[in-house]
């Protein structure tokens, strides 16, 4: 479990991005989810996807909690047999995006608003344009995808959906090298990093 920006943070709640590298195992999603639900902690966003390594899965979980709570959650997650590694990061430590789709009636859009202006100003693109409706797509932070809802609402927004968050850790150098360590019978220090020891290296891990 790591926080790559180990600076003393106030005890207040903030968004944390928890990145979990796992084996691809049926039931693991539940095993991880109940670590949160047992403590009555809401998961704001959850995404699972393949990672850069074949057979290794990656979870991105967003919670709004204190660092102390997030550290304990991360340790409990990393304790699960099929979990290889857990990192947690604040929003400043990651590059993150969410994708949103908006369905609006084509006639109103075409009539009342300049589609081109909408697309330009909101970094959106039209995915589908049909006679009856048009689907726009945008990616960005929550505020950005929210902003387009407000804009499209007067034009008869029919349907809106937003994806879970995906996040890339700024300081991470990927998982390939680490995985090789895990596969050894006697894992090296790389995978058994000690959070206290690594303070000086800006790595907060276990």
């Amino acid at each position: 479990m790591s926080n790559q920006n180990h600076t003393e943070k106030p005890a207040g709640k903030q968004e944390f991005n928890i990145t979990v590298y796992t084996e691809n195992q049926i039931g693991l999603l539940n095993r991880i989810a109940i670590i949160f639900t047992r403590r009555k902690i809401n998961i704001d966003s959850l995404n699972t996807s393949p990672s850069e390594i074949e057979s290794i899965h990656r979870f991105n979980i967003v919670v709004n909690e204190t660092e102390d709570v997030v550290r304990k959650l991360s340790r409990q997650i990393e304790k699960q047999v099929e979990v290889l590694k857990v990192y947690y990061n604040t929003n400043e430590d990651v590059i993150w995006q969410e994708l949103a789709l908006y369905k609006v009636p084509t006639d109103i859009i075409a009539e009342k608003a300049s589609v081109e202006r909408l697309l330009r100003e909101n970094g959106a693109r039209a995915v589908v344009i049909r006679k009856d409706y048009t689907v726009f797509e945008t990616t960005g932070h929550r505020e950005e995808t929210d902003a387009l809802i407000k804009i499209l609402q007067p034009f008869g927004l029919i349907e809106f959906v937003r994806s879970a968050r995906v996040a890339i850790i700024k300081h991470s150098d990927g998982f390939n090298r680490k995985l090789r360590e895990f596969e050894r019978l006697e894992p090296g220090e790389e995978v058994s990093e000690n959070e206290y020891l690594n303070n000086g290296q800006r790595i907060f891990t276990m």
Binding site: N24, G27, P50, S55, K72, E82, L84, E189, S192, N194
Partner: protein, 598 residues
């Protein structure tokens, strides 16, 4: 995984390939020449259990596990199956076996209700870190999710209370999955593992290439790497301490580090106190053993927790029953915490120096770096508190002289007979606290109790398992009148297996611990704690078990002697005073320093 990633779920053959790759790394000689034999999944399971050294299985058959039981019919000589009377009894027996033997307890149950009856035991084993491998039958794979007869979603129900669980739907997975199950159950911080096997996989024939034990899973690190820097820091802190205090827990026993621990304590000269699961790791009468921690622990260890300058916690997890009010717990002390489970560090108590690792390895390294010291004045302080406790509590409990019998004197007189060599299995409640406080334990693995979960009904079945785990030792189950009635059907298991277990019922005709709280905190409003019991001696007789009831002080010793000398199981009911309270006590919400003597 969720539905969006469905296509990424690996098929069973793919998984097998991975296992084989894992195994291939381990250089098995002549693996190319290994012959395969066509066997059923059930036979492969039993062969795997034998290869893992299984001696005894506690189980109960049923529809979905019938193919395994059919295979077991031919393995009667190699595997000793004990038919319990309820699956909860089976799993508690497995726990008792694991606790006294240090091996993995094996439990069989069928699908649906058989599996759900295991839940209490799984939760108990999970919180008390007891290694178990539980095998449950499951409906045919093609019936999963159809609400088939005796179908329950066992994997999801057991996920929060298992260290690992897995559903087998293809027989070819069985050898590898069982090897993983044993490896996970007993390595690192031990815990219960459940393997759910669908009926088709039990029946299915496949080419079995023999059993290879697992010793590595790439995503699982049972032991954190030991950092010498932290052992040095811990040693520096200990060497500079003026009033150091050691707290030890079951980790010392689970890590089989009793010798290493004793060497550490004796060289350091530090007074040491135990959690109830740690009891017996060093003998009760060791000069540096200052007693029991926690809500009903000894006076000195509780009060002086808040006076020590360095607190050294070894293989214990700062349970709330040990710490009392956390924000007033050992705030003055620097804390050294030795634990194999990294998630325990800083979980409840902030650590100054964490020492991650197996204490069998960390303790000798630490012992080497510490100075040989003695703390006569500091230890004298513990003795002062002991004297106060003896005067205020212990004398009246152990040597009441007149009036009705007490639980304490029964345990005290039992000590005289066992000399501290017996395994004491306790249930949950007042008698548990009294037994843990006063039982003399000379050896490790002598105290079997439900510590974390506090499962009433634990003791009788656990005692059965404890005896199988330590057949050469006397096993005494100390049980209250309430807890005994939760699993008394296991008298049938005792009868049928012919096992020798001594049952000591301390009958106060109340659910005593709840009554004590109602007296102290609910103004004597005794809400549903009055317990009417059957004639326990007659009940034992119905199961062919000898028994006796005693209520007179003059008969107590002779009755206990009769029980201990009896060949075979014996039930002794001791009628004790109804409204005795267990003291000292740290009331809920109070700090350990606010422990009450009355």
């Amino acid at each position: 995984m969720d539905e969006g990633t469905n296509q990424l779920i690996r098929s069973a053959p793919e998984m097998k390939k991975e296992f084989i790759m894992e195994i291939a790394q381990q250089e098995i000689p002549n693996s190319a020449e290994t012959k395969t034999v066509e066997v059923s999944g059930s036979v492969a399971l039993l062969e795997a259990l034998i290869a893992e050294g299984t001696e005894v299985i506690f189980g109960y058959p049923g529809g979905a596990i019938m193919p395994i039981y059919d295979a077991l019919y031919d393995y009667k000589e190699k595997l000793n199956h004990i038919l319990v009377r309820h699956e909860q009894g089976g799993i508690h027996a497995g726990q008792g076996f694991a606790r006294t033997s240090g091996k993995v307890g094996i439990v069989f149950a069928t699908s649906g209700p058989g599996a759900t009856n295991l839940i209490t035991g799984l939760a108990d084993a999970m919180i008390d870190s007891t290694p178990l491998v539980c095998i449950t039958g499951q409906v045919f794979a093609h019936l999963l999710g159809t609400d088939a007869f005796q179908e329950t979603d066992v994997i999801n129900i057991t996920t929060p209370v298992t260290k690992w669980n897995y559903q087998v739907t293809d027989a070819t997975e069985i050898p590898e999955v069982i090897s993983k199950a044993f490896y996970i159950a007993r390595s690192g911080r031990p815990g219960p593992v459940l393997i759910d096997i669908t009926k088709n996989a039990q029946i299915q024939k496949f080419d079995f290439a023999g059993y290879k034990p697992c010793d590595h899973i790439r995503s699982y690190r049972p032991k954190p790497i030991i950092r010498k820097e932290y052992i040095q820091k811990a040693a520096d802190l200990i060497n500079s301490a003026k009033k150091p205090f050691v707290l030890w827990g079951q980790g010392v026993i689970l890590g089989e580090a009793e010798k290493e621990f004793k060497a550490f304590v004796e060289k350091s000269g530090i007074p040491s106190a135990w959690t109830i699961l740690g009891a017996g790791a060093i003998p009760t009468d060791h000069p540096l053993n200052v007693g029991m921690l926690g809500m009903h622990g000894n006076y000195g260890p509780n009060v002086l927790t808040n006076e020590c300058d360095v607190l050294i916690a070894i293989g214990m997890r700062f349970d709330d029953r040990v710490t009392g009010r956390l924000d007033r717990y050992a705030k003055q002390a620097k804390v050294v915490h030795l634990d194999i489970d990294p998630s325990e560090i800083d979980k409840n108590v902030q650590t100054t120096v964490p020492v991650w690792g197996d204490c069998k390895e960390t303790l000798p390294a630490l012992t080497e770096l510490i100075q040989e010291r003695t703390f006569p004045e500091w230890i004298a302080k513990f003795k002062e508190y002991t004297e106060k406790e003896v005067e205020a509590v212990i004398n009246a409990e152990l040597h009441p002289g007149s009036g009705e019998l007490t639980m304490g004197e029964a345990i005290h007189q039992l000590n005289e007979l066992t000399k501290g060599d017996a395994v004491i299995v306790t249930d949950v409640g007042q008698h548990q606290m009294v037994a843990c406080r006063y039982a003399k334990l000379n050896k490790t693995r002598s105290n079997v109790t439900s510590g974390g979960l506090g499962t009433m009904g634990f003791a009788l079945p656990a005692a059965i398992g404890a005896k199988f785990g330590a057949p050469e030792r006397d096993v005494v189950a100390v049980i209250g009148d309430g807890g005994f009635q939760m699993t008394l059907q296991e008298l049938g298991t005792i009868m049928q297996s012919g096992i020798d277990v001594k049952i000591l019922i301390l009958n106060n005709r109340f659910l005593g611990m709840v009554r004590q709280w109602q007296e102290l905190f609910n103004e004597n409003r005794y809400s549903f704690v009055d317990m009417t019991s059957p004639d326990f001696v007659a009940l034992a007789a119905a199961y062919g078990i000898a028994g006796k009831s005693v209520s007179e002080r003059s008969d107590l010793n002779a009755s206990l002697e009769e029980m201990m000398n009896h060949k075979g199981s014996f039930l002794l009911e001791v009628m004790v005073t109804k409204e005795n309270n267990v003291f000292p006590m740290v009331p809920q919400g109070c700090s350990v320093a606010e422990i009450r003597l009355k």
